[in-house]
Every structure is written in structure tokens, then in C-alpha cells.
Symmetry: C2
């Protein structure tokens, strides 16, 4: 395969869904694409936020992530500039994982021994048809453009509930057993971590969120702040600040991200009667000097 | 205070530090600001990414978050457009929390009973000088502009290590006891969550990261992928993919974010000899159909 024909596959995050929070690199990728692949509402959103686009649109239904990923590699391997679009951050419960999984599966299918955790699998291979296909996929320039995820957008609207240690869990038991999810909720609550819950509920998973709330109520006070953020950053944005004692699954749908505070998370009223919610930077006791003098939370960490 | 004099305080994230990943809302806030307040490297970065700026620059040293927050409120309460700048996402171990904490402390200092977890504190207050100051602070339009955080940027460069459930922890024991951090590491590792570690090490905290790695080695195989991302998105970007068995604290500094995989996280070689790292969407066993047919991971969750 000549370099001139080297295709590019970009996995791109829409962010929350407003132009103002769409990364310029994401907008540029959409505009430069020959092909745009994704779940149809996200393809529509890319056109709305960055369009008009020259790309051929390949909008698909949900639940076909691996098909989408393989289709994207096939197009890119033919020399095209392909974008796979995700909402939020493609690296958080979204298409980046499916795309990398597809590439790994192709490498493994090419007959290389799989020692998955050591990086020893998927070496050189060109000796058969499967190997040649894997080689063309691997020659594709693969780029992931991160985005602002739903929990971050919801947090920014209500204050800083994710300002201290937190945990990001998907409540979907489509691809992991429910008992693993319960165990993670138990351990995260025992660790007194703030929780950001993705995929909280759906028609096919009606009871799981109620079980999750019940479980968390055994660890946390009823007054623990809970934030429900639906379509944050989009025209239909809706935010609810409630408590663990009062929240019900009926307030939540699959387009909602749920943030459950830790024992330290606080709420207090704004001027307009709604609430600010934040989790203090300190834990258990305010440090000396917190009330008025310079404190000592930072390290100048450029990584924040 | 008349509406014409209503000031605005925006807490704004720089994202990882490249123009292409700076949200347009963030760039607009920098350009519109009368005053820009922050740790001096972040003020410099805002000027580099969005400048020239008309704002008066108030660059300060690190470890003065609460002073910065109060200064910002005072300026905004006088009717100015003030921006407090953070790297990454201001809501993740950054200035949004300090700003909201400062507001809450001011409300509480105004003499209102503090029932911190129920949102009952900080009601109306104008009966004394402290109350009037709290009222002027609360009248400020307070806006938080989220950003792409360091762990997301690092993840995007190496694949999708955060593609499944994960935990975001600060290793700094400046504001929380070290035993709380150890307990959280233990519980997160027991839950088999991927870990993103912020503030991993500093001159004042030289031994903690080594202890953390030792603790994690008791739960996870030595082959577990570890990603070290330093200055990701900036000119000096450096990425290392190693393993839990091989990583040493000497490879890490305070500008590095550390991602430690779960038992499921995998690595495999790219064409250029470096490694892709990802955490599969499924857990424990690949679902039926994973190898070739449409799978069932998605819910059409717009929240991702």
C-alpha cells in the first residue's frame, strides 16, 4: 500500500452537543471527512454543529458498534478519510473502544498468538489473506479526538460535584454481569467516592437503577445530593438537583447522566432558588487555613 | 446593585493545552474577560491559546486557590467580567471547586445556619455587612466552562484505556489523609476499575506513588498496562506505555497523569512499534456475537 493511499480513521467526540463545547479538532475532522459513520442522532448532530459537510453519511442504528468499526476500517484502508462520531468523549463508554477492539480482533484473527496483556500479540503478518487485511487496517492512520463527556457538562452546570475523587460507571448489564455492577457500586460507596452513572436505565433495563439507588442508600445519608443531567448543552437541557432519599428511577431516562455525591458533597441555594452542588477538595476535616489564608491543595499539577 | 453592574465570574478550563482541544466557549470567555486570574503557567497558556487578550492578568503562585477565588468574586461583584483559568476541566481537581467553596464559606460566614448537605444553608441575608457581601457575591453570574481533562487526552493518544468503568483519584495527601487514599486504591482495585491518578507525585510527596504502585501490585498482574501521559497536547508531550510490574515513580512527575489498567485492559502493537491500550466494553467474557455480528453494548445513550 503506497503512502499516497494511506487512509485515516478518526474517532471523534461531539462533546455535550453544543457548538461552544465542540473541540476545534473535532469540527475540523468532520469537515475534512470523506465518510462520516455513526449512530444516526450523532451523525445528525455533527452536521448541525459543523456542517455543511462534504462527507458521505453512514448513519446506522444503535447496537452495531463492531459493524461500524469494521466498516470504518474497510473504508479507511481504501485510502479515504473516515470519521466515526460519538457523543461526549469517544473514549468513555463510546466508539473508541469498539474501534480499537475491532483492530485487535482483526490482528488476532490473522493468526497471531494472543498474549493480550503484554503487547506481544499482533506482530508482523502478511503471509495470508487475513494477515494482509490486518496489515492494511493497521496501516490506517488511527486518531482519537477526545471530547467533554456528559458527566463533566452536567457537573459544570450545577457547580463542582466531581471536584474530589470520583468513579465513572456504566449501569448497563448488556456487556457485563449485574453482580459485577453491584459489587462496584458497593466498593465505590464504601470508598466514599462520588459516582457518575452512565447508561442508567432503558426499556430493556428497567429495574437496575432502582436497585442501584437502594444499594447506595445503605451507605450514604438520604440527604446526599444527586444530580440528574439530561441533554446538557443541547436545546432540551434539563437539570434536576435532588437527594438520594428522594430520587426515583422515573426521573431518569437513557439520555440522563446521574451523579451521586459522596458523604462530603454539599448543596446550597443560588440567588435564583436552584442549588449549587460541590464536593470539597479536602476530605474529613478542612485544613488549617481553609477559612482565610492560603491553602495547600495544589501541586502546580499541569495535569489537572 | 443594579443589573447593569452585575458582574460575571467564569471558571474556565484550558483543556489539555492545545488550541485544537480548547472549547470555543473557553476561548470566547478569555477574549471577553476584563480580568484573568490563575496560576501563572495557566494564565500564560490562555494568552498563548486565545490571545491577545484585553484582560488585566492576575497571575499567582500555586497553593492559593481560596485567595484567588475570593479575589475573583470581589472583582466580579464590582461589575467586571472575570475569568478564573484552570488547566484541563476546572471541575476535576481544579478551580471550580475552590470558587464554589469560597461562595459557600461566604454565605455561611454571613451567619446562616449551615446544614451543609441539605441545601438549607445560605438563604437570604442582608442584615449586616457580612450578609451584604455574601449577597453581592451571590448576585454575580457564575458560569463554569468545562474542558477536556488530562486523563482523557492521555487516553486518546494510546487508544481507549478508559473505555470501561474507571475511577479518578488524586494521590495528593495535602487535603485528605493518606490512609483514605490507600483505602480508595484498595477498594478501586478490588472493584477491578481502571484508575486515573492525578497529582501523582511532587517534591513534597516523594514516596506516595511508590506505595500506591506496591498496593496495586497486590491486586493486579504485573502485566497490567500502565500509561504515563505528560504534557499531553502540548509541545513537550511525552507518552509512555509500560506495565504495573515495570513502572517506577522515577518515570513520573507532577505534570504526569497515570492510568493503571484493570485486569481486562489490553495492549497490542501498532504499526510503528508503539502500543495501543484499551479496556474492552465487555467484562469477564466476550458476549455472543462479539466476533462478527452486531453486538449489544449500546442503549443509544446520548449521555456518553
Amino acid at each position: 500500500m503506497s503512502d499516497a493511499r494511506r487512509g485515516r480513521l478518526s474517532v471523534v467526540g461531539l462533546g455535550p452537543g453544543s457548538e461552544g463545547l465542540l473541540a476545534p479538532d473535532a469540527a475540523a475532522a468532520f469537515r475534512d471527512a470523506d465518510d462520516l459513520i455513526g449512530y444516526f442522532p450523532y451523525v445528525d448532530m455533527a452536521v448541525r454543529l459543523a456542517g455543511p459537510l462534504k462527507a458521505t453519511l453512514h448513519a446506522s442504528d444503535n447496537r452495531v458498534e463492531m459493524d461500524r468499526a469494521r466498516h470504518a476500517f474497510e473504508l479507511a484502508a481504501s485510502g479515504r478519510k473516515v470519521v466515526v462520531v460519538s457523543s461526549g468523549d469517544p473514549g468513555i463508554f463510546a466508539m473508541a473502544t469498539a474501534v480499537i477492539e475491532a483492530l485487535h480482533a482483526e490482528c488476532e484473527a490473522a493468526g497471531n498468538a494472543a498474549d493480550n496483556s503484554s503487547g506481544e500479540s499482533c506482530g508482523d503478518f502478511t503471509s495470508n489473506a487475513a494477515g494482509e487485511r490486518a496489515a492494511t487496517w493497521r496501516a490506517v492512520e488511527l486518531v482519537i479526538v477526545p471530547g467533554i463527556s456528559a458527566a463533566q457538562a452536567a457537573a459544570s452546570r450545577v457547580g463542582a460535584p466531581l471536584g474530589h475523587d470520583f468513579c465513572v460507571l456504566s449501569l448497563s448489564d448488556n456487556l457485563k454481569p449485574w453482580d459485577v455492577i453491584e459489587r462496584r457500586l458497593e466498593l465505590a460507596a464504601s470508598a466514599d467516592l462520588v459516582l457518575a452513572l452512565y447508561n442508567p436505565i432503558s426499556k430493556a433495563r428497567p429495574w437496575q437503577l432502582g436497585r442501584a439507588f437502594d444499594l447506595l442508600r445503605r451507605h450514604l445519608p438520604a440527604t446526599t445530593p444527586v444530580v440528574l443531567g439530561r441533554d446538557v448543552g443541547r436545546p432540551a437541557e434539563r437539570l434536576i438537583v435532588t437527594t438520594l432519599g428522594e430520587v426515583t428511577p422515573a426521573q431518569v431516562d437513557m439520555r440522563t447522566v446521574v451523579i451521586v455525591g459522596s458523604s462530603q458533597t454539599r448543596a446550597f441555594p443560588r440567588g435564583d432558588g436552584s442549588l449549587w452542588v460541590y464536593t470539597p477538595r479536602w476530605y474529613e476535616a478542612a485544613p488549617a487555613g481553609e477559612a482565610g489564608s492560603p491553602d495547600a491543595s495544589g501541586d502546580g499539577a499541569a495535569g489537572a
